[in-house]
């Protein structure tokens, strides 16, 4: 038995929706996390309805990437695939790197199952897997044997196969095991037999590795050098929810989430609905328009109104967001982007709502736009979005996407007490500058241009706001042409003037090419840049989190490079915005497959481009 130290590994588990792949992936991930590896994950669910068992459509998978250095993506090509049935093999085997390891249960490769998966010949025997390292492990049979003492029925007993796999992989990668059994017993506390079956299967898996001579090598991935601190694993949706919760906490404002379920945003609702013990309310509205309306109504009452959705829902909310622009109330709108247009590819990721976020409202109605760059960054971006919304009294659009939402990574817990508080600064008395003693809801802060904000319940400041054009300062209805002009420009100036941190550039080698991204492409871009640098190429990297307004130094930064490559999961929407600012030398690289970029693919593209430059 050889033990080989490696720096990273990418494992993918795949099986039927009912085979417990997500649980398996989750546990394996937690082991890696507990061990101190850095990691990133990518679950992949089947199309929205449960497909017939055993078919390719019904395959669910979970990919984990763990390493001894900080990593940025869930990995391009798995090193190991555990396929629970022929369909799972078929759906995933092409993604493996050459020489990768495939573990299958040969008993599953019956004629019937092969047919369901659409295999005409048995891939285990027809030579098509020649380039891979194939291991046949009778996972089902062994699991059945292991749990036999419990007297569980066959069907239920087979449910523990996933834990067999966990045991086997844990052995292969020398993962700590004590936590697992404890966790399984806790999870199934109410079903002790199930808990026991899972534990037995897990042990059987470990022992199988240890005992049989099937696997000649085991691997060790050392802990990563992460900054010291307390960590947890977090998905983008969970981090986003926690960010909203935290924004409420540090602003002492009630958070009111008005929302309507939609993939892949629903989990933000699910997460927040569990925290009703905070000063937080969730309203599952009748539709997206009602959802954003309820959020805006709550904001009118002095709460932090939030609404969460995906592209189709954002389209529906457009008109009400315009009302938010006109009434100048805080509102956070989260769009977890998915494949479009229309219903499109609802479970896949995309970045094609950027222009909708910027321009998808009638009239001149600018709103700030932010995008998180990793699952854990969803937390910070949510806090930042709320801060801008409250400080500037404006709707703010936060663009997450399917990859961030469902992906996860280790997250060093933030110190809440150290976050700068958010101050709604409600008006408490009259403010008219003409000694009328009146209250002027549209009197503005000189610096931020934010309007004064008095909430119902404040005596003496009674006033009305609404969607018609407002007179400067007093906020009365005004049809005056000059006033309209002034208000249109003021609203624009307010957004343009939002304080946004300068864009950081990572450019150790004074490169001539800059790669500029936004949102969830951060991981693959960064990984590609690293690879290029290891290959001796000079390339600079910067990533935009603020898409409106852009950082003030953006033009400056960009002008320093011969060319700026902008990879996007759309047809070049950021590139369009950059060019619209008069920037030339923008090279737009786009991909719209519903899948994230792979680091390798970006590496190749950048390499080609730079060779072009050099030429």
């Amino acid at each position: 038995m050889t033990v080989v130290g490696i720096d990273k590994v990418v494992v993918r588990f795949a099986g039927d929706s009912g085979d417990g792949m997500q649980l398996l992936g989750d546990r394996f991930t937690l082991q890696a996390a507990a061990f101190g590896n850095d990691l990133a994950t990518m679950p992949d669910y089947p199309a929205e309805i449960r497909a017939p068992q055993g078919t390719v459509h019904g395959v669910s998978s979970f990919q984990v990437h763990f390493a001894d250095t900080d990593i940025l993506t869930p990995g391009d090509t798995p090193d190991v695939l555990v396929a629970f049935n022929p369909a799972a093999l078929k759906a995933n085997v092409e993604d493996l790197r050459a020489g990768g390891v495939v573990i299958v249960d040969p008993d599953e490769f019956t004629k019937r199952n092969l047919a369901k998966a659409g295999y005409e010949r048995d891939p285990l025997t027809d030579g098509s897997l020649r380039h891979l390292t194939l291991h046949r492990v009778a996972m089902g049979a062994i699991t059945l044997g292991a749990v036999k003492p419990l007297g569980t029925g066959r069907k239920d007993a087979l449910r523990s196969r996933n834990m067999f796999a966990l045991g086997l992989l844990s052995w292969m990668y020398g993962r700590p095991t004590d936590g697992v059994e404890h966790a399984l017993r806790a999870k199934f506390a109410k079903l002790p037999t199930v808990a026991e079956a899972n534990v037995l299967a897990f042990r059987a898996g470990w022992n199988y590795g240890e005992t049989t001579e099937m696997f000649a090598t085991t691997y060790r991935v050392a802990p990563a050098a992460l900054p010291a601190g307390e960590y947890r694993r977090v998905s983008g949706n969970a981090a986003l929810a926690l960010g909203l919760l935290t924004a409420g906490w540090i602003s002492r404002m009630k958070v009111v989430l008005g929302t309507y379920p939609i993939t892949p945003a629903s989990d933000i609702l699910h997460e927040l609905a569990r925290h009703k013990n905070f000063d937080l309310l969730t309203i599952q509205a009748e539709d997206e328009i009602a959802a954003v309306g309820a959020a805006l109504g709550a904001s009118f009452g002095g709460a932090l109104g939030v609404t969460t959705t995906s592209g189709p829902g954002l389209a529906l909310k457009s008109e009400t967001i315009g009302l938010g622009v006109m009434t100048e109330l805080p509102l956070v709108i989260v769009d977890v982007q998915r494949g479009g247009p229309s219903t499109g590819l609802p479970t896949k990721t995309e970045q094609a709502d950027l222009l909708q976020a910027r321009f998808g409202r009638h009239g001149e109605s600018p709103v700030p736009v932010l995008a998180p760059l990793s699952p854990s960054d969803c937390f910070d971006t949510a806090v930042e979005a709320a801060r801008i919304a409250v400080t500037y009294r404006t709707p703010v659009l936060l663009l997450s996407d399917g990859a961030l939402a469902n992906g996860s990574e280790p997250w060093r817990l933030p110190k809440i007490a150290e976050l700068a508080p958010i101050d709604p600064g409600f008006a408490t008395g009259p403010n008219a500058t003409d000694d009328s003693g009146d209250y002027w809801p549209y009197l503005r802060d000189r610096e931020t241009l934010a309007r004064s904000w008095a909430i119902p319940g404040t005596p003496g400041l009674e006033h009305r706001i609404g969607g018609l054009e407002k007179a400067e300062r007093t906020g009365a209805i005004s049809y005056d042409p000059a006033n309209h002009e002034a208000m249109v420009r003021t609203r624009q100036a307010k957004i343009d003037g939002i304080a946004v941190p300068d864009l950081d550039v990572d450019d150790p080698d004074s490169a001539r090419t800059l790669v500029l991204g936004w949102g969830s492409t951060y991981g693959p871009i960064r990984a590609a840049v690293r690879r290029l640098r290891s290959a001796g190429r000079a390339v600079a990297q910067a990533h935009l989190r603020h898409l409106n307004p852009f950082p003030a130094n953006l033009d400056d930064v960009l002008s320093r490079y011969d060319r700026v490559v902008v990879p996007e999961m759309n047809l070049g929407q950021l590139a369009l915005l950059l060019r619209a600012r008069g920037m030339t030398d923008i090279v737009s690289h786009t991909k719209v497959t519903g899948l994230p970029f792979k680091a390798g693919e970006l590496e190749d593209v950048l390499m080609d481009l730079m060779e072009g430059v050099a030429a």
């Binding site: 960590y231 947890r232 008005g258 905070f278 309310l281 309306g293």
Partner: protein
């Protein structure tokens, strides 16, 4: 009159959590500085005056009253009231008000809407607010036409009505707003008329006191685009023959008052159990309907709503239904209170989530 925490017969008042004003108020306190800009003769004026006269009676702190409207002539209403207010967008006022009411139990939240605003573009929000029983008072100004956009037919217009958008007559069958509300599980439904100040004030007061959603349909004259639509009900003689005024616990009657001081016509169950208007003498006295707005079963209220006909040959007014059931916003808040009692919030715990691990200095390489 102070209404904070009035708990009548175990029912919490709609205003239970709204602070009261120790100072007496007058209608003028509710007049804003905005010039009222409806057309001369518009029924909206009378409704405005009636509301301004009624609000002081509630005895609430003025700053704790909010009017939210949609878009339409009627939706200009909030501008003319010196309370907090929002003139929002077309059809969405109930949704916006829901968010406000849920977030702020200390406010008395009113929605002002029109037949187009509430029943055309806003129909979904209306029925859902009623179903959920959010603590909102919804005043639906029904002039049976789109006033603001200059006179197209609305979802309450007569079939066949000729307008610019229906030059040979509207092909649409109208809604009966009271029936629709009852079908949508409304806990409080009433109807009144602009010209009937007293009746209107009465239902408005009842609506205010009701905990949960209260829908008040108000027949409103639009002299410009649907002039005289309700004239038949305004002529005292006609009104006597056509208008049924519902009063809790009383027999439902109408028509010229007889010697006994009661209407000469009554609403009674016919042999098949359906409601009909009959001369009192023809009705078996047991079959005469005694109005019970608190009936849990909305079927009788629904049947009453069908007595009102689109052509106004019969118009039923007053409170059709007023039953007590949990208000959505109370439920949501109660869940929160309970959650807080069970698990005092700790932001650090929630952030940590459960499964954490520690990377110590030494593990850094």
């Amino acid at each position: 009159m102070t209404t904070v925490d009035t708990e009548t017969a175990g029912r919490r008042s709609g205003l239970a959590l709204v602070p009261s004003d120790p100072e007496p108020q007058k209608a003028a306190d509710y007049r804003s500085d905005q010039e009222v800009r409806w057309c001369p003769g518009c029924g909206d004026y009378i409704i405005l005056n009636t509301v301004q006269a009624m609000l002081p009676e509630l005895g609430l702190r003025r700053e704790n009253i909010v009017f939210i409207s949609g878009i339409g002539c009627s939706s200009r209403f909030p501008y003319y009231l010196d309370t907090y207010g929002m003139h929002s967008i077309h059809g969405r006022a109930p949704a916006i008000a829901t968010g406000l009411a849920v977030a702020r139990p200390d406010l008395s939240v009113w929605v002002i809407t029109g037949d187009g605003d509430a029943l055309s573009i806003g129909g979904n929000h209306l029925i859902h607010a009623l179903r959920r029983n959010v603590n909102l008072k919804i005043l639906l100004f029904n002039n049976r036409v789109y006033g603001l956009t200059k006179g197209q037919y609305s979802p309450t217009s007569d079939r066949g009505m000729v307008t610019k958008s229906s030059p040979v007559g509207s092909p649409d069958a109208p809604f009966n707003p009271v029936s629709l509300a009852l079908g949508a599980e409304a806990s409080f439904v009433a109807r009144s008329m602009d010209s009937d100040r007293e009746g209107l004030a009465e239902v408005l007061r009842a609506a205010a006191e009701h905990r949960g959603s209260a829908l008040v349909e108000i027949y409103q004259n639009c002299p410009v685009f649907n002039a005289g639509a309700f004239d038949a009900l305004k002529d005292p003689d006609q009104s006597l023959r056509r208008v049924i005024r519902l009063r809790a616990g009383e027999e439902i009657d109408l028509g010229p008052v007889g010697e006994d001081g009661r209407g000469t016509q009554v609403v009674a169950r016919d042999p098949r159990g359906r409601l009909a208007v009959l001369p009192r003498e023809e009705a078996d006295s047991k079959s005469i309907l005694v109005h019970d707005p608190a009936d849990e079963d909305p079927s009788t209220a629904f049947a009453l709503s069908r007595l009102s006909t689109q052509d106004l040959s019969c118009a039923v007014t007053g409170v059709f239904r007023s039953v007590s059931r949990p208000a959505y916003d109370d439920e949501v808040r109660d869940q929160a209170v309970l959650a807080r009692e069970q698990h005092p919030p700790s932001i650090e715990d929630v952030i940590a989530g459960g499964d954490t691990w520690t990377v110590s200095e030494r593990s850094e390489r």
